[in-house]
Each structure stands twice: as C-alpha cells, then as structure tokens.
C-alpha cells in the first residue's frame, strides 16, 4: 500500500500497522491483505463482489477489521459483506471506508453489510467514513446496513462521518427478536455543498426488545442533511430515537422521526431538535479567553465527541 492508502486506513480504522486478529483490507477494488483466526473465517464471495465473515459460536474478545480504501479517481464499486455471528459471541467489528480523490472523476463505494447475530451474542460495530483529496471528482459513499438480531442478542453500532465525503445515502434496517437490544450512535458533520441522508428503520418484533437511536449532526456552509428514523413497535418493547443537530451558515437539515406502536405495550419516544449554537455558549467560552471561532470549534468538537 502507498502512503495515501495508509493515511486513509488510519483515518477509518485507526490502524497504523496490520491489525491483530482477523482482517480483510480492500484497496482500490482488490484485496490488499487478509488474516483469519481459529474462530473467525473470511471467505470471498463467488457470485458477487464481497466477503462472508463467519464467526464461530462462543467466540469471545476477538475483533475483525474490514476497512476499504479507494485512492484511484473514478473507481466505482458495489460490495456485499455478510457477517454470520454464531451464538454466545462477544466480538468487535470495525469497518470503514476512506476515499482519496485527486482527479476529476467521481469515486464511489457502495457497501451492503448484512449481520446475522446469533442468540445471546454481543457485537460492537464501528464504521467510519472519511474523504480527502482536492480533485473536482466527487467522493460518494452509500452504505447500507441490514441487521437481523436473534433472541437476547445485543448490538452497539457506532457510525462516524466527519470529513470529506461529498454525498452519502446511508440506510440502516434492523429487526429484533425477543429481548434483543440495539443501540445506534451516529455522528455526522457536513460542510461545503455536501449532502448526507441517513435513514433508519427498526422493527421491534420480539417481546422486550429495545432500540435506541442517537444521532448528533452538524451541518456547515451550504451542506444539506436529511435524517429519517422509523421505529415500529410490534410487541411489548421500548424504542427511542433522538436527532440532535447544529446548523450553521446556510446549511439545511430536515429531521423526520416516526414511531409506530402496533402493540398496546410498545413504549416509543422520539426527540428531534435542530438549532444554531446557543449564543450564550459561545460567550461563556469567550469569557474563558477563547476567540469566537475557537469557541465554536470547541462546542462542535464536544457535541460530536
């Protein structure tokens, strides 16, 4: 891998070196390295681009890294990754995509990640998106995440997109069986003329299943964002969605939270708030000696932390 690819890799997966545990690194549409372990297998799909990640039942304290980096301008790819997580596992999965586009052509990575989480398993899933390069070609990512959660499983999903991606349409759908619990934290910042769309749909089908979706977003300059969250309570369950957004300059944000209770014992809450940075927050930090610009930066960093 060259230096640009290494930098991308560090941004999206926090990797300086080859990670320990299982990994599959995809660079410019090709495999740039793979490691499997006794418990985690990675198999190339034969019918379409992508991989199957198969985690044996009972696998604990192991991690899988599957970062993707694109540094060749004009490359477009659609990748299917399926995660089969056995019962009673406790694993961390780190995905992420970095695009460096210094050319004039559009570079695009569309990934479809499907999770099949076995009974009583715990999964932490981290996904980071990052774009760099000063070419006029756009950097586009359209990730789709589909989660099927079996009884008593737990998934914590953390997605971050802070810089450099021109256009994103993110779609996340999940269905949960009895006592399954899903926690999603999304952090998003757009600037320039970027566009980001985030669409969640969660079906709480099992008794005592629960979901918590938390989105923190900042839109600067002329960027636009759309946040849609739909939680269907189809059983005795608890669902909560929260979209908290800071708007700056000429940016626009739309938030459409929807909750549907299809069972008498479904307890569902949605919250959405969009507003500019409170003037008194800036003044408070200025009384500590920060300039107005430093105060704004501090507030946004904290908000997206």
């Amino acid at each position: 891998m060259d230096q640009i690819q290494k930098t991308l890799l560090e941004e999206v997966a926090g990797l300086h070196e080859v990670p320990s545990g299982a990994y599959n690194i995809r660079a410019n549409g090709e495999s740039a390295g793979r490691n499997t372990t006794a418990n985690i297998d990675i198999v190339t799909k034969e019918d379409k681009p992508g991989i199957d990640i198969i985690i044996k039942p009972g696998t604990k304290k192991e991690s899988v890294h599957i970062p993707v980096v694109l540094s060749q301008s004009g490359l477009k790819e659609m990748v299917y990754n399926d995660f089969f997580i056995g019962e009673d596992c406790d694993v961390t999965i780190v995905a992420g995509c970095g695009i460096h586009n210094s050319g004039d052509q559009e570079s695009r990575h569309d990934g479809i990640h499907s999770f099949f989480i076995g009974k009583r398993s715990r999964v932490k899933y981290v996904e980071k998106h990052y774009g760099s390069g000063d070419g006029r070609g756009e950097r586009i990512m359209n990730p789709q995440t589909i989660v099927h959660m079996d009884e008593d499983s737990y998934m914590e999903m953390e997605t971050v997109q802070i810089r450099g991606v021109d256009s994103t349409k993110r779609s996340t759908t999940a269905d949960l069986k009895d006592r399954a619990k899903l926690v999603i934290t999304e952090r998003l910042m757009t600037h320039g003329s970027q566009y980001a769309e985030s669409d969640f749909r969660v079906d709480l089908n099992g008794a005592d299943s629960s979901a918590n979706l938390i989105s923190r977003a900042v839109a600067k300059e002329d960027s636009k964002q759309l946040f849609v969250a739909k939680i269907n309570g189809n059983n005795r369950c608890a669902g909560h969605s929260e979209c908290d957004a800071i708007i700056m300059d000429h940016a626009q944000i739309r938030a459409i939270p929807e909750i549907a209770a299809n069972d008498l014992d479904a307890a569902l809450i949605h919250e959405a708030a969009i507003g500019k940075i409170a003037g008194e927050q800036i003044i408070k930090l200025m009384t500590l000696g920060l300039t107005e610009a430093e105060a704004e930066e501090q507030i946004i960093n904290g908000f997206l932390k």
Binding site: K284, L285, M286, T287, E292
Partner: protein
Amino acid sequence: MLELQNLSFQVEGQDSNTKEIIKNINLTLEDHTFTAITGPNGGGKSTLAKLIMGIEKPTSGKIIFDGTDITNMDVSERARLGISFAFQQPVRFKGIKVKDLITLASRDKLSTAGACEFLSKVGLCARDYINREVDASLSGGELKRIEIATIIARNTPLSVFDEPEAGIDLWSFSNLIKVFEEMHDKKENSLIIISHQERILNIADEIVVIADGAVKARGKKSDILPELLDTNGGCRFYQ
C-alpha cells in the same frame, strides 16, 4: 484597577422609546479589593457586570482596566487581559466535560488531580464530577458550583460574580463564603460580587448600592449595611 467613566447603557423599548438601564455611572475600584454590588431587582446590577465583561457594549462612557481603555474590546480580549465572569445562570454544553471546562479556564494542561483541587474547593467530590458532561444531567446547584470552580481556576486579576448564591443550598453557601474569603485574603486579585446576601455583603471591603441604573450609595459595610437591613422604616435605597 477598574474605572467606569460616565457609563450609560440604553435599550430600545416599546414604540421605539429608549430605556436607560445604566445612567451615567462613575465608579473607581482599587486594586485587591472586594466590592459587593447590591440593590433592588431590575436596578441594573447584572447589566453593569455584563458591561464590565464586554457581554454588553455601553451606549456611552468608558471602561478602564489597569490603565487600559477596554471599552471597545470584545469578551475574549478582556478575558485574556485578566477579567473573569461567573454567570448567574451558567450555560450547559452537550459533550463538554467538567474537566474540559476547567482545563480551558486554567489555560494549562491540567492533570486530573489539578482539576480535582478546584472542584473540591466548591464542595464537589471531584471523582464523581470530573468526567461528567456539563449538560442537563447536572442540577442547577451543581452547575453553579462548577461555574465558580472555573473562575477559581482562571485566577485572574479581576473576577466578577453575578449572584453566586442563587441556586446554592445552605451547606454549600457556607463553603462559598470561605471561597470568597480565601480569594480575598490572598490580596492578589480583586473581586466584584453582585449579591443580595447579608453574609456576602458582610465580608466585602465596600458595598455599592445600585438602584434605578445609578449608584445610590457607596461605602464601608458599617455605613451601608445598617441602612440596608433596617426593615422598620423601610430602606431608603429600595424605594
């Protein structure tokens, strides 16, 4: 230390009539003094404090701080010059931790132990608070004590407190008095405290009574306090 010269502040009222909040105030405060500002609600005390910090700009007049005309300086410039301000209603932040705020205030890389020292002074068990966010999960009283801790951490030549006692429980109030006494005993810095509390007025070197936008009285506590506390005949400053 601080000189207010012919300071006035007006706001646009209804029917575009202007309302005078501060009326031609002249006041000089000496180095290393503790001045308590008191007076009836709506009399202009908080506005005066905001004018000193630069949160509001005067309509006319001058503010001189340590010989420098700061009238046209913004809030950050005044903060860097050595003025601190404790808000009557402290601001909440999502995502900023107590430690972050105290570190920003002290302008140094603070160790956790260093930040804890400031929190202990305001009666907060540091271990429980240092990593908490300064958000809606904190009560009004907790927030207020953290606000005061940021001012202690700043340790600037002039600290202005806008009703520090508001929202503080009785136990913390005694500690608060100790904090102000300690700050004053060092004789390094000056304090301006806006307060209605007799115990705070009692430890000040000087009391300034502001009512209806003007200085109604000024003097040592032995002269001003009896008048303020005379409930029989009614206080002449509160009419």
